[in-house]
Amino acid sequence: MTDATIPAGASPQAKDSLLVPDARTRKRNASEARFRAYGLGAIVIAVIMLLILLFTIITDGIGAFRQTYLTIPVTLDAQQLDPSGNRDPEDLKKILTLTYGNMLNGAVEGVIAESGIQVADLTEKDVNDLISKEAAAQLRNRVLANPELIGQTVESRVLVNGRVDGYYKGRVSMASAALDGNTSPQQLQLADALKDAGLLATRWNWAFLSNPDASDQRPEAAGVGIAILGSLYMMLVVLFLAVPIGVAASIYLEEFATKNRLTDIIEVNISNLAAVPSIVFGILGLAVFINFSGLPQSAPIVGGLVLTLMTLPTIIIATRASLKAVPPSIRDAALGVGASKMQSVFHHVLPLALPGILTGTIIGLAQALGETAPLLLIGMVAFVKNFPSAPPEGLFDPASALPVQVYNWTQRADPAFIERASGAIIVLLVFLLCMNLLAIYLRRKFERRW
């Protein structure tokens, strides 16, 4: 820019220095800066949202991995547990959980008396309700599994009531306990005294990962064991159905299909299926797999079939992209040395496309693992207390799934279940993280540029 072509005095800016921006330039620069700030702001908002989301879920859920236990010696009285004295498992099963409950209550009272704990206004109900209702059932299972224990005094680690557990996690306070029918300040004082005596402690809770779900009154015993197993079974079904079908469909569409009306319809169908709301697949599963062909409700096989149909478009799209990335020279070379079209695809193109297919598959599986809505419709919300058996029969047994278990827990009244639900989300997110890291690793390791 020179002033040579501008007649003197014709331009209003002529007197201005080039080094000092005029008002209009300043305005334009300011709007430039504003625009950049909006863009940066949008990214910052998105990242902050992600951090808040993860932070709240983790702080709410980390408690599920710690649990308060009371360690007490329990005398397993042979007179009460095995009146016939022959340790016959059938006879032992006739002894109800109630008997074990009374035995535990006796043990707790014994410990309180022994360590000389004095709490004013402590009622018998406070003492008896200190331990979880599930503890007696757990003790019974332990004895049934090992009848040798009868007649001995065993150190038992028993679950305490969810409210007392909540007290040590900050969910329950003395003030809220006074208003709560399920606990009382005296009970919490008793727990504090037991803690001081070294009998009560909050420790790492492996049982959360292995226990089945528990009923409404026993949040302290609830775990995600069945849900993890159910999700695993469904992923197996998806893996064994969606991957072969998806890869076969992509090979046909990418390598063999001639452009005709049928392949056009298939292509349009696949791209539309990828965008159908997931709940519609649930309706399909309910109407077709359960109502029409009579497969059992709540079974992982039905969930797996529904998720297979949902995952197929993802796998097909990823597989086609990686088949397309294999250069035509590979195919031409194979055909040139006398391979048939089929041989060139299966012996040369497919192995080269495998890393991409694998990555797409893992991402599809991760999507399927987090899907909830269709599973609600095929009855996976049911309360399941028994572990499914091993596959293949276990695929037809009722089971839960991780995301559905989360939903299930949020519908319960006791706030302790919110902690469990967030804990289950952490488990789910850890699984997803591992799968995505594996996909990234595979992509980095095998990625090939032609």
């Binding site: 950049r36 863009g39 702001g41 998105a46 879920i57 469909a249 696949i270 709940i279 939903y407």
Partner: protein, 396 residues
């Protein structure tokens, strides 16, 4: 004997058939495989495929369409088919038999079958919903369903099943979600593709992609335990607008967060597809970077961005878990965003979970709702894909 074991036995038979037939082919050629038309493995594969494919296919179809049949009968037929397949393959095996051609035509048929599953799925979705919707409309007038303004299902009978309150809730929540996600997603995409340094890009892009990978149940829980109570305590109650944790605003906000990565990655693609020469031209004329974007890049990308917004809208309309956990269950038509409202997807879930009676209109209405949802989202998708494709071709 359960069907799953039958399938495993059939597979074992197929493996056995492979080795027997392969061995037979080699024996027929007196150990000199050059005298065979195809490599010996192909003779084996021919037997394995003939054993496994018809048997598994018949088992699956039979189990699926006539679930009442005794498993023993199915097992016997399947095993007979598998053995018959092996016998047939063995009888055809001779050095002159074109085993490779036979195997390749079977494989090709299988490939075609697999790719037609997409069509079968769509047909299954449409037919199952059409059939039950037909049942529903034979018991309940369609005008009342589409134009009724009251939703109050009663399992005793005398339900009013008007869809309008559900449709209103769906559209209201989706609107809020779009109002949140479109500006944030779009600005994030613009900044990422036009301004960001490689370092910021390599950090922020994966972060936003993580948002896309989080399952919707996580967003649902976030709405239920964090966003809902926060909006209620800090906005709704002080302003006297409502006292419920679940509200249109809760669900809309959280759904908006969920859609940010969706909008931003689609817009990112579209903005990147605008040719560099347009930007260079605008910058060369002296416009600032933001003027180039606002006056040149965005207008050029507009059709694609509209397509992206339509796709996001279709996502929002079909979203289930966030609204189930965040929007509430009260069917009403209102404008207060801090009130609980409900959506089509929430009602599909509530009518179809638990014990369902497939003769009652209260259950069947879910299929009519599902079909409505399917038609709306499909329509949006088709329009959006058409717009996006049309736009992409423009610069190719």
């Amino acid at each position: 004997m359960p069907v799953s074991w039958t399938m495993l036995i059939v597979l074992a038979l197929a493996v056995a058939g492979f080795f027997v037939t392969r061995g037979r082919a080699v024996a027929l050629a007196d150990g000199d495989t050059r005298r065979l038309h195809s490599r010996p493995g192909y003779y084996g594969w021919n037997a394995a495929l003939l054993a496994a494919v018809p048997a598994l296919f018949v088992t699956a179809i039979w189990r699926f369409f006539w679930p009442g049949t005794s498993p023993t009968l199915i097992s016997v037929v399947a095993l007979a088919l598998a053995l018959g397949g092996i016998a047939f393959a063995l009888s055809r095996t001779s050095p002159a038999f074109r085993a490779r051609n036979a195997v390749e035509s079977i494989v090709k048929a299988l490939l075609i079958l697999c790719s037609s599953i997409a069509i079968l799925t769509t047909a299954g979705i449409v037919l199952s919903m059409l059939f039950e919707t037909g049942n529903f409309f034979s018991q309940y007038s369609w005008t009342e369903f589409f134009f009724g303004t009251t939703w109050s299902p009663r399992f005793g009978g005398g339900s009013q099943l008007g869809m309008l309150p559900l449709l209103w809730g769906t559209l209201y929540i989706s609107l809020i979600a779009l109002v949140v996600s479109v500006p944030i997603g779009l600005f994030a995409a613009i900044y990422m593709s036009e301004y960001a340094s490689p370092r910021l890009r390599s950090f922020a892009k994966p972060m936003i992609e993580v948002l896309a990978g989080i399952p919707t149940i996580v967003y649902g829980l976030f709405a239920l335990i964090t966003v809902g109570p926060m909006l209620r305590d800090y906005f709704a109650q002080p302003l006297g607008l409502g006292s419920s944790g679940s509200s249109v605003m809760t669900a809309g906000l959280v759904m908006g967060i969920m859609l940010i990565p969706f909008v931003s990655s689609l817009s990112d693609d579209i903005i990147n597809a605008v040719p560099q020469s347009l930007r260079d031209g605008a910058l060369g004329l002296g416009s600032t970077h933001s003027e180039t974007i606002r006056k040149v890049v965005l207008p050029a990308a507009l059709p694609g961005i509209v397509g992206a917004i339509l796709l996001a809208a279709s996502r929002a309309i079909g979203e289930t878990m966030i609204v189930v956990m965040g929007a509430g269950a009260a069917a009403r038509i209102g404008v207060n965003p801090f009130e609980a409202m409900t959506t089509i997807t929430v009602k599909i879930v509530s009518q179809l979970t638990g014990d369902t009676d497939f003769a009652a209109p209260e259950t069947l209405v879910a299929f009519a709702l599902g079909l409505t949802l399917f038609v709306i989202t499909l329509g949006l998708n088709i329009v959006a894909l058409y717009v996006v494709r049309k736009y992409r071709e423009q610069y190719e």
